[in-house]
Symmetry: D4
Subunit: 165 residues, 8 copies
């Protein structure tokens, strides 16, 4: 049974997307944000998609992170059935390296938005950070944690490149 009190839903089209999307989960964990991770295949489980998307707001989610590859319809279809903000992560596909995933997610028609992140791991991490930025608008403690996360990230950048790295 899903954790209805999670702030963020991470959905993905298949088990194979988890290798990418787990980076979203881990980033949310690092920021202390609750999340519920599910497989929802737009194509193989359309009923599950409808049920999830239509119920997402009522289930208490505030932000949806959706990852998919190839003809990636999950983020856009979720967005068509909920007014919650949806952030899409194009998973790197085999033949076209995620170019198909990216265009299938980002080129939504006017009316139904999907905030799209980069292809692959970077996009998954950033979907979590964008969700954090959204939630931090009304969560001062989270805002502080996010600032600290960003500051730590900056501090970790070495001044000079290392041959040993």
């Amino acid at each position: 049974m899903p954790d209805k009190r999670a702030d963020v839903a991470i959905i993905m089209g298949s088990q194979s997307d988890w290798a990418t999307m787990r980076h979203a989960a881990e980033t949310l964990d690092a920021l202390g944000i609750s999340h519920d991770d599910r497989i929802v295949s737009a194509h193989r489980t359309p009923d599950r998609l409808v049920a999830f998307a239509k119920g997402a707001r009522e289930d208490g989610f505030k932000v949806i992170i959706a990852g998919a590859g190839g003809a990636a319809h999950l983020p856009g279809m979720a967005a068509s059935m909920t007014a919650l903000p949806v952030f899409g992560v194009p998973v790197e596909s085999k033949a076209l390296s995620g170019q198909d995933s990216l265009l299938s997610i980002v080129q939504m028609p006017a009316g139904i938005p999907v905030g799209t992140l980069a292809i692959g791991r970077a996009g998954a991490v950033n979907a979590a950070l964008l969700a954090a930025a959204v939630l931090a608008l009304n969560d001062t403690a989270l805002a502080v944690r996010l600032d600290e996360f960003r500051q730590a990230q900056s501090d970790k950048v070495a001044l000079r490149p290392s041959d040993e790295a």
Copy 2:
């Protein structure tokens, strides 16, 4: 009220797709195939999409032709909810000339097929011809008409190029 006895459903994501998809309708007309043309937006009318796709077989449709542009989710989502053959037409998009439409339609994951045609008018005509080829498998009279259509098409090819053309 839809004509439930039509063999082919032509669905498209918006009114603006009709300029392309009407070529499918006209080709079906030329071959004497009944069709029902509807606007079904995957993103703006997801309920209509679910109702249409789930009921398509019961409504008597045998083939679905679906046209859409940009992040074109209509053909794939229809295919996810019906076992009928679905043929997709990538409508030429403004910025990316239909490259986004093509990839969003053709790159379906294993399990849910969409037979994809060319971008734009040629694809719309050919979706109709492919539907005809499918229907002709069990309609001898249509098979004859399709053969004649193809023969006439061949006969119309001039032997030499004309400067007046």
Copy 3:
């Protein structure tokens, strides 16, 4: 000697395409659909192509699945010489990852359709499923098997991603 009573012909441009196209064959097997698998090179064996395509209907085939890579002319040329439905599978090419295969198959001019599937294995599986959908229009038993196949496919989608997968 070819099995003239097979419903589906799977043709491919070379032995090397079999690694992809065998997924079409296996999917047809799983659905109990007879098929005949052949190598027909549009470029190296054009006579074989002409003989095959012109005789395909008479040989009892109902659907043709054609896979090829690079400047992939096989699906379109087969379609030019038969009124049977032709479904094309772009095989992933070395340098361009199947982008050339895809465009060479899908961008057919108005008049001769090829229903194109995704690049690579997913496309091969889906070509078989699309052929099944076509054949199921007049084969109630197959329609039931196809529904069951799709249902089983849906049922296999786990609710949550697994770290062990």
Copy 4:
């Protein structure tokens, strides 16, 4: 002098981007969301960019919408200097039709997110709708207006295509 109490900042790289970005402004207007529209060129006015981005949260903005074309650095650089959610709109460029704009905005490295929308007008409208979805998380009245906007949008989709349209 900027309206410091606006919820959304719309920034763009040059006057020529306004033809695209005004659609974001108009959509926010339709939803009753206050916004402040500015030209901030990452390349020609880097100081203005730094001042804007670093002060955006203190200035009361909650969401930043940034549009730019070509080597579009504005959204990502704004995001590097504020923890507010930043949504990027790739403006259609002359030679490459916005493919450069899209990649320059969406392919951010892990750590600094930009939620990217579609190229051109659709992206501008959707950036506004995504901003609305974010703001609606804590503004019940806006949530209702957004639901109504979406419902009206769905209701406007005709059932059938019209030759007169």
Copy 5:
């Protein structure tokens, strides 16, 4: 009835390709090379293609120039049925600007070569010049004319750009 004594056959997939291919014809004219211009559609007139290609050497042709657009199969299929040198001209296509034409022509598998020229008018002119270079190997007078053509071409290049041009 075709002029069987022409050295070069110019074939094209449709009347609409003539706007491009006439530049090949005019360039051959300028060089005093005989040519025979025909419409041969690989898809709509496959029999004509077979007859042409198989008979081309016997008909006295020495070089074949083939222009086509989209899923451009004409040059490669002609090359599969004749040992004569075949030069391919990718005609600019509507949606994809000839990128599909180019890849469909140039990416031939090992075994059947097509010497491919640039997309559009430049390619048509150059196909003629390449044919001339081939024919000039055994035609001293033509070699002289070709040298003069190239010299004149060089001489026409102004030293400085002109605002009036």
Copy 6:
């Protein structure tokens, strides 16, 4: 006769490139930098190219700006025959919008550099500005003029977009 005392040579592949390259000339004029504008076709006037490139340093040039389109070989070939800095401008081509020009110029192998600017007018302007930056390293007066040019450019950026613009 060329002005041997000009600091910058602007060369271009054909008269048609002047519509783009004149923006380089005008920008140099605005900065008070002497320039010599010539047509040098790598393909039609290779001797002129060799003579120009080999003599450029001796002729007193300090920087070469080279613009070309399509298979744009001029910048790279000039760079192969001079140790002077060469800046390349990809001219927008008809079919491929300058993508071919860009790759032909920028993807030089290790050993012979071409500093490449954007496709089209922006690239031409920026080639001039980059040349100015180089020359300003040893020309204090020019450095001041360049700073003023950049400052004026920044000052011209309006704070807010205008509907009248």
Copy 7:
């Protein structure tokens, strides 16, 4: 010292291209065509390029095969300095998989043709076959060998795919 009596010159931009271009050499060997294989770098040895290209006809060459990668200028620059037919082979590049090589070779402006083959090994083989087709126009024995080569190639195509292959 070069073998001045070879019919075909194979030139390539660097030693690393030999892994690709040796397939051209081997194919010429199989057909009994003499060839002379050289490294001629357009960028690092422009003088060698000029000397080679200007002297190629006098040296007895009839056809030039030129392979290069990245910003591949060798085929086009050779073609600019000889009236002999030049066939170009785009060598697969590291980052862009030969897309840059292909466009740099094929998109020649009107006036200077390069007959371009496929990216990589297939293109190298086919450049040799195209050279053979050209030479066979005036060499009956070679024409017979080429026909036999093509026939053997056709005969080697198995009728059915093999799981053991």
Copy 8:
């Protein structure tokens, strides 16, 4: 503490770029040019970027080499804050092989130039050589060393390909 007397600053977006950018450093070393290598992340350390770029001229740098990947904003943003010549190196990215890096760097708007080199190692080497060409304009000894470097590079090109290489 940075070496303020270095002529060239090599900056890069992250430690992982050093594998590419060290080739710039090594090439400068080979030419006897002083350089200072730093990590400056446009996105994670924007303050460091501002401080570096604004102080670069005063710090004694004459040329800036900037390498970055993906949405590569570092070269363009550095160029926006210094009048020094900036040369950009697109680092090969994972999913898109550096196509995103290239477009993000090269497609700068008119007003702020970045001289862009090839993707990856070749670009890094060439950025160093271009910097050398610039510095050699006012350093006769360096000009000699650069000429020798180029001559040695030419001399190392073997006449014929080697199977052992």
